[in-house]
């Protein structure tokens, strides 16, 4: 096991808080009926592992602002449950086959069960947030619940935006459209909510949580772009979804949007036709062609540069946000995130 050097606090804390969260998670995935068609599949995705970035960020932020690990734990657990709920539903609607090296839930159990399981995970997350009142008191519990409601709403709206693009076969999207969608769909529950709730719990005050929106947005977007880049160019075993899966799905990544903008008229027409087909009719040759066109038009390079820029800006915002806090592992973790987000494979 490699030593966690001071220069890289991220893996160490991910492991530590990740384990904390996993153990606490089990309280909510316990033996209950109906097992076979609900609670067993419910436990499936959470047990498959995952990076645990979101719950770690939540706990680390809370601790950086002065809370104990227990105070932030349940909110972190809730977040991980929500995350898995989104994954389940995502996989259904993206018609994906694989998740974290194994078949997707709907491939195993059918769509109806999968959808139900996703709902159940979300409600379990809610349960965890309500249980916060045991350790946080009524006022903070309410505030965290409100934050969760906002997070859920933003994620759903962001998701609806993207779904709308796919359904309407939108091909004239701008970078600003993309940024707005990612802000809502991904950043809120990946980086903004964990930071806000962490700060809320740590300081006990909800004054000016909006400043975390900027930081969370910049960090989360860099994270998402890197995620999408890995789907095209990363190691599929480590990444967890099939290679080029995003192209198969017609997902509007920054690379795809850039390709649509830079392609010649003929290329754009072929691309639009591909995007207009239902997934089962799409062909491997088209997917490979698109991937190659992205290289030719420098779309991946462009996205890398954008992610680079946003991570840099996140680093800058981070400095302003956390400068006044005492030095701690947690603070160093957060400050190292912008770099880590880009460097991971």
């Amino acid at each position: 096991m490699p030593l966690a050097t001071p220069a890289d606090p991220v893996p160490g804390l991910l492991r530590e808080y990740g384990n904390l969260t996993r153990v606490a998670l089990c309280d909510y995935l316990g033996p209950r009926a109906p097992q076979r068609h609900l609670y067993a599949p419910v436990a499936d995705y959470p047990r498959r592992g995952g990076r645990m970035l979101r719950p770690t960020l939540c706990i680390a932020t809370a601790r950086a602002f002065g809370a104990s690990p227990e105070e932030g734990l349940r909110s972190a657990v809730a977040l991980e449950l929500f995350h898995n709920a989104f994954l389940v539903h995502d996989d259904v609607e993206d018609e994906s086959d694989e998740r974290r090296g194994r078949p997707t839930l709907h491939a195993l159990h059918g769509v109806a069960v999968a959808v139900n399981v996703g709902d159940a995970l979300a409600l379990l997350g809610l349960r965890a947030l309500i249980d916060n009142r045991r350790s946080l008191g009524p006022r903070l519990t309410m505030r965290v619940l409100e934050e969760a409601e906002r997070m859920a709403r933003e994620s759903i709206e962001g998701q609806a935006l993207e779904l709308g693009w796919r359904r309407d076969n939108a091909v004239a999207l701008s970078d600003a459209d993309y940024l707005e969608m990612v802000l809502k769909k991904t950043c809120w529950y990946t980086t903004i909510y964990p930071s806000r709730v962490g700060a809320l719990i740590g300081t006990g005050s909800d004054r000016d949580l909006d400043r975390f929106i900027r930081f969370g947005f910049l960090l989360g977007t860099a994270f998402q772009i890197q995620d999408d880049l890995l789907n095209l160019a990363g190691d599929p075993r480590r990444y967890g979804k099939e290679r080029d899966g995003d192209i198969w799905e017609g997902k509007r990544t920054l690379m795809l949007i850039t390709l649509l903008r830079r392609a010649s008229a003929d290329e754009r027409a072929r691309l639009a036709a591909f995007l207009g087909e239902p997934r089962r009719e799409r062909r491997e040759t088209d997917v490979r062609w698109i991937r190659e066109r992205m290289e030719v038009h420098g779309c991946l390079e462009y996205a890398r540069e954008v992610a680079h820029g946003l991570a840099g800006a996140a680093h800058h915002e981070c400095g302003a946000l956390y400068a006044g806090l005492p030095d701690s592992r947690d603070r160093r973790f957060i400050e190292a995130l912008p770099t880590w987000v880009l460097a991971r494979t």
Binding site: S174, R207, D210, R211
Partner: protein, 714 residues
């Protein structure tokens, strides 16, 4: 938590209030403790208004807002939202009750035969509302500009049709673009006459031009210029035959001619690629520049162009024979006004500017913890000794009057459910107020030097940063130290000039139709000197408290030429003399000129129907109504001759001498006002608000410069 930074804001006009509003936003978390120092008893500066006898609104002049005032509207809307007035008790609770669209504009033209023609136009409304969040993506592009040209021309064609065929059922029915059928029908009618067949060609040409301009870099410059030239020649030759007989056509031609000349100039002078944008042609006067680019003398002297000059009071020294405005600033202004307005072209306030704008801001700012020190006249800005870090060490004030009991002065009164500013200070709140009133202290007058005491504020003890929001007319006196030792400030006060203005308001017992103006209420310019601008403000009458309501209300305003040399303006009697002069001007105007607009307002040539004027004292016991011209004394008029009340001009070549609020020569001082280099360098509310927001940025780093709408703009 460190102690808050004390910001002394001097002056309570648009710029200062905008800056104070920005500095006390929630996100600053109380970092800035703002105190506003104001002469007299009212906020507003050139925008102040008051309530006089009968609760009548008394303004400095005509304050019509324009649909492109994005920063001003945004702040006003935020202010009202924060104010949260109860609509059940307050007649103006929402910003949309404070401002109403006024799409009807008018231009008056003399036909050379002693007759005045009025050209009325409905400027088509557009999507959205001013102050809405800015649209994503490119802000204002050349392509937008040209599209808007086509839309505007269409609106003018509509007006042409109305002028020919009289008002029809579909005429001016208000909001909404004219239906395609109506436009096509109008064109079809015109096409009957054969030689107008290429009117469609003109429109097609404009569409082609749109494509060309959309990617100008791809076309060689000489090709573009040739295209523009041929468009102009074709159009001119087409319409030449009809110019003499169809005044309506000639007006449209004037606009087309001027527009084509502008486009030609933009290409020829390389404005499209010049990093200075429109500033590149600021050395030229606008009309001069249009002539250089092929506009005809007639178009450049048309009512349309003159009206634009009038709106900006662009007459050097107020001399109507010397219209001058920096070409770059003028074109920028026209582009913004015509092509970026949202909702309506003009927006009229539904009460005085004091109660629509300054009272709400006053209330919100007070709630946020801003302190207001009224009756403070700034007398000197004293610099510190440190030559390496020049800074403001002290601010010297005359405290004109003390408040009884050392309390805070309560400046507002209620009229008709609205908080308003009174026409005179509340003497009862002032120490020895009765005596001051009897002695007739003119507390807003530059020439009034009586005071209760002096007061000196010192840096670090009483203030940390200074935001100077007084009008530039006051700068030579109050910043004499800075002007003496800083050549840039000296150049600024030498080159950035101002002009005095005059205005009067009349309340009438007949309405406009009875007086012979058949159309909808209008804002009209280009009329005769000395009152070239008229606005029908009858909608304000319900806001006033008339025992017997007048039927109409008209505002007139104009520049007031300096009759005396600057030195003689220092005489104490100057203000009263100018006031008398304005009265004489107004009386003459009503007797001789207004009849061209209101044909039935004259008894006989040279005799206005003075009995038309309504006085709030009419019908009250003990009043002996005046007769004839003397009746004018019951109306309202003003000579705006206080140096700080003078209107800021944008003379050719003056732009370069303006100083920006962002300039940090004095490390604890920033300036704000429509006279600064604030991005839009002309005298208007929007320029002042932009400048105020810039000054806030200079102090606090917020708002972000990209957030100041129109700051980054060619």
């Amino acid at each position: 938590m460190t102690a808050p930074i004390k910001v002394a804001v001097v002056g309570g006009g648009c710029a200062s209030i905008a800056a104070a509003f920005e500095l006390t936003r929630r996100e600053h978390e109380g970092r800035y403790q703002v105190t506003v120092y104001q002469i007299g008893w009212r906020l507003g500066g050139k925008g102040a208004s008051a309530r006089g006898p009968g609760g009548r609104i008394e303004e400095h002049g005509l304050h019509v807002w324009m649909g492109w005032y994005e920063n001003a509207f945004r702040l006003v809307r935020e202010c009202y939202a924060e104010l949260g007035r109860d609509p059940r008790t307050c007649p103006i609770a929402d910003w949309r009750e404070a401002f109403a669209p006024a799409p009807f504009v008018g231009v008056a033209e003399h036909d050379g035969n002693g007759r005045w023609n009025v050209w009325k136009s409905l400027v088509p409304p557009t999507d959205g509302l001013p102050g809405d969040p800015p649209p994503d993506g490119p802000r204002w592009s050349m392509r937008d500009y040209l599209v808007r040209t086509a839309v505007l021309l269409r609106g003018l064609f509509q007006a042409l049709q109305t002028a020919r065929d009289g008002p029809s059922a579909s005429d001016g029915a208000g909001a909404g673009e004219p239906a395609p059928e109506a436009v096509l029908g109008g064109i079809a009618r015109l096409l009957e006459y054969g030689e107008l067949a290429t009117l469609a060609g003109l429109i097609q040409g404009a569409a082609l031009l749109e494509t060309v301009m959309g990617s100008l870099a791809r076309y060689p410059e000489n090709v573009v210029l040739r295209f523009l030239d041929s468009l102009a020649t074709n159009a001119r030759s087409l319409l030449q035959a009809r110019l003499a007989t169809e005044p309506g056509l000639r007006r449209i031609w004037d606009v087309i001619d001027v527009t084509l000349a502008t486009l030609r100039g933009e290409v020829r002078f390389g404005i499209v690629t010049d990093p200075r944008g429109f500033d590149a042609i600021d050395e030229y006067d606008c009309r001069e520049w249009l002539l250089l680019n092929g506009a005809s003398e007639r178009s450049v002297d048309s009512g349309f162009v003159r009206a634009l000059y009038d709106l900006g009071f662009s007459y050097e020294d107020g001399d109507p024979a010397r219209p001058r405005v920096a070409a770059g600033q003028a074109v920028r202004g026209v582009v913004r006004a015509f092509f970026t307005y949202r909702g309506a072209f003009f927006w009229k306030m539904q009460a005085g500017m004091g109660e629509v704008v300054f009272a709400p801001f006053y209330e919100v700012l007070r709630r946020r913890g801003v302190r207001f020190e009224f009756f403070h006249r700034l007398t000197n800005v004293a610099l510190g000794d440190d030559a390496e870090s020049p800074h403001v060490a002290a601010l010297e004030f005359d405290v004109q009057a003390e408040i009884l009991g050392g309390r805070e002065y309560e400046p507002l009164i209620e009229v008709g459910g609205l908080p308003c500013w009174p026409a005179t200070p509340d003497w009862r709140q002032l120490v020895e107020g009765v005596r001051l009133e009897q002695e007739g202290w003119q507390l807003e007058s530059h020439w009034e030097r009586r005071k209760a005491r002096t007061r000196t504020l010192r840096v670090t003890d009483d203030f940390d940063l200074v935001l100077l929001g007084v009008g530039i007319g006051a700068i030579p006196e109050v910043c004499r130290e800075i002007v003496a030792r800083d050549p840039r400030w000296r150049a600024m006060v030498d080159h950035v000039k101002t002009v005095a203005t005059q205005a009067f308001q009349v309340w009438l017992r007949a309405d406009m139709k009875e007086l012979g103006w058949p159309d909808a209420p209008v804002t009209l310019s280009g009329f005769v000197e000395p009152f070239d601008t008229w606005a029908d403000m009858s909608h304000l009458i319900p806001r006033e408290r008339w025992p017997h309501a007048p039927r109409a209300l008209a505002y007139f305003c104009n520049v007031l030429p300096d009759a005396d040399a600057p030195a003689t303006q220092l005489r104490p009697a100057y203000a009263a003399e100018q006031r008398a002069r304005v009265r004489a001007n107004a009386v003459h105007f009503l007797n001789h000129d207004v009849v061209h607009l209101w044909p039935r307002a004259a008894l006989a040539p040279g005799r206005f129907r003075w009995d038309l004027l309504v006085d709030s004292a009419d019908g009250t016991a003990g009043s002996a109504p005046e007769r004839g011209e003397a009746r004018f004394a019951t109306q309202f008029w003003t000579a705006n001759v206080n140096p700080s009340d003078r209107y800021t001009l944008s003379l050719p070549g003056s732009n370069a001498y303006r100083i920006s609020p962002l300039d940090r020569t004095y490390d604890n001082l920033t300036i704000a006002g429509d006279w600064t280099d604030g991005g839009f360098n002309a005298g208007c509310v929007e320029a002042a608000v932009m400048s105020g927001r810039l000054a806030a940025h200079a102090v606090a780093g917020a708002p972000r410069l990209e957030d100041i709408v129109g700051f980054d703009h060619p």
